[in-house]
């Protein structure tokens, strides 16, 4: 069963094609990594899947439902973390959690999540006064509050230190074992290697690779995944120059 199915997704901004005829599936219980340089179309793809941006062509289903027509049922079971998560100026951690939990029928205990992510002692603090890493962890907590079957994590661990990243990874591994499907974007290749079952590399809105990390390495003839990633995403002319 697929958690997400994307068929021939195209998104244009004026004459600029942000996502070009993209098709892929995210299998249930798997971690899917969407990679590419800034501006390659990752966020546009995610927004079109979620329905917050209107696609120009294509079809999308989430958990075998239409995310626009059946949004209530879909978003009851989907968590998300936006790249720049937004929150009210004067909101405190606990209030943001409580409000997020209130929109779902069967949310998880945010207290437990805050504890698991090591920020339970920050409950009474203003969100804006958290450190970058604490805030990032809070936003992952918010994504998990609905007790989702699928989460979207946009730039998962940006701003986290090495220890915190490992902690987040291990929590995600655990959730994955329980059947959670994850679509993530990240700029950290070690993270992709550690977490993703399948990856898709975008370049200027087009798919340039789809498969596993190992396949990316063998197909590109590179020993390290980071080199393979760069090989796929670098401009053609820079290949020629080398």
């Amino acid at each position: 069963m697929n958690a997400i199915v994307v068929k021939n997704l195209t998104k244009k901004y004026g004459t600029n094609i942000a996502v070009d005829n993209l098709s892929f599936q995210v299998k249930k219980g798997k971690v899917f990594g969407l990679l590419g340089a800034n501006g390659a179309g990752k966020s546009s793809t995610i927004e079109c899947i979620l329905g917050t941006k209107k696609m120009d062509a294509g079809e999308v289903s989430i958990l075998e439902m239409n995310p626009i027509k059946e949004r209530t049922q879909v978003f009851e079971r989907v968590g998300f973390q936006f790249q720049e998560s937004k929150y009210q100026e004067l909101v405190k951690v606990e209030e943001l959690c409580e409000m997020t939990a209130s929109v779902y029928k069967e949310p998880q205990s945010y207290e437990d999540l805050l504890t698991a992510f090591g920020i339970a002692d920050k409950k009474k603090e203003y969100v804006k006064e958290l450190s970058g890493g604490e805030r990032q962890r809070l936003f992952i907590v918010l994504a998990l509050i609905p007790n989702p079957e699928l989460v979207f994590l946009d730039e998962l661990t940006t701003g986290l230190d090495a220890r915190a990243r490992r902690d987040v990874w291990s929590i995600l591994e655990k959730l994955k074992k329980q059947g959670l499907s994850i679509l993530l974007t990240s700029h950290y290749m070690d993270e992709i290697k550690a977490l993703c079952d399948e990856i898709l590399i975008l370049k200027k809105g087009k798919m340039v690779f789809h498969g596993t990390v190992e396949e990316a390495k063998s197909e590109s003839g590179k020993k390290y995944f980071e080199d393979a990633y760069l090989w796929y995403t670098d401009e053609e002319d820079s290949h020629e120059n080398i």
Partner: protein, 247 residues
């Protein structure tokens, strides 16, 4: 319903933390009431009038909180939530983002009602205020003024490009209405030529309705004002709904 209650509770908490609505919608009307009460006391509104100056001003004072919430509070919070993409966040949850707008509206209704009760209490207990008309009619007028002022706020918040522009428009509407519509500076003390000019302000008409109801004067005095307020409400609501930007 549970969602609505929790969102409202937390939005109220945040709003109280910000203090500005508490000051502009609840404390300020009381201060103006006390000043008018002390200065004019029980004096009749004009020579030979059956009602006091304060009786005449009560409706105007009640409108201060409506004006603060509707024309200042609502546009600022809506444009702020849009630019922070909070409305967008709610688009990917089971609830509709419009519920968040409802929460904000109800919050400003609460401020206005608190102001109404506190004004009524202080005016009655300390300054001999008497509601001369029917309470029902007054509340009906109050509701009408609220709907039309809030619809102005929804329109400004809904269509302003960003919070900066919303702030400028809100100030351009709020401060003139606060000072010149008779909400703080009594309409009756203005020269006639000035009264003619300020008649175009929606709140001036709203205050006429409230004043008329408080004093129990014949309702056909304010037919024009009622139509004016209804029109404002309908037009602004239509524009707000039609052109509302979620992001």
């Amino acid at each position: 319903m549970k969602t609505f209650r929790i969102l409202l509770k937390n939005e109220l908490k945040m709003s109280l933390r910000g203090m500005d609505m508490l000051i502009f919608a609840v404390i300020m009307p009381i201060i103006v009431l006390i000043i008018l009460g002390v200065v004019f006391g029980q004096k009749p509104a004009f020579e030979g009038a059956e009602y006091s100056f304060l009786d005449q001003s009560f409706g105007a004072l009640c409108s201060i909180a409506i004006c603060a919430g509707g024309v200042m509070g609502l546009p600022l919070v809506i444009s702020d939530y849009r630019s922070r993409q909070i409305l967008k966040r709610y688009q990917v949850t089971p609830i509709k983002p419009s519920l968040v707008l409802m929460v904000e509206v109800v919050m400003y209704v609460i401020y206005a009602v608190i102001s109404l009760f506190s004004l009524f209490f202080v005016a009655t207990c300390f300054f001999g205020f008497k509601m001369r008309g029917s309470f029902g009619l007054f509340l009906l007028g109050y509701l009408l003024v609220m709907i039309s002022m809030f619809s102005i706020g929804m329109m400004v918040g809904g269509i302003a490009k960003n919070s900066k522009i919303a702030g400028v428009i809100a100030s351009a509407l709020y401060f003139p209405m606060l000072v010149f519509s008779g909400a703080t500076l009594p309409y009756e003390v203005m020269p006639v030529s000035m009264q003619k000019i300020v008649n175009v302000l929606p709140l001036t008409q709203g205050i006429k309705i409230l004043k008329n109801a408080t004093l129990g004067l014949p309702t056909d005095n304010v037919t024009g004002a009622v139509i004016f307020m209804l029109l404002i409400g309908v037009i602004c609501s239509i524009i707000a709904v039609k052109f509302f930007r979620w992001e």
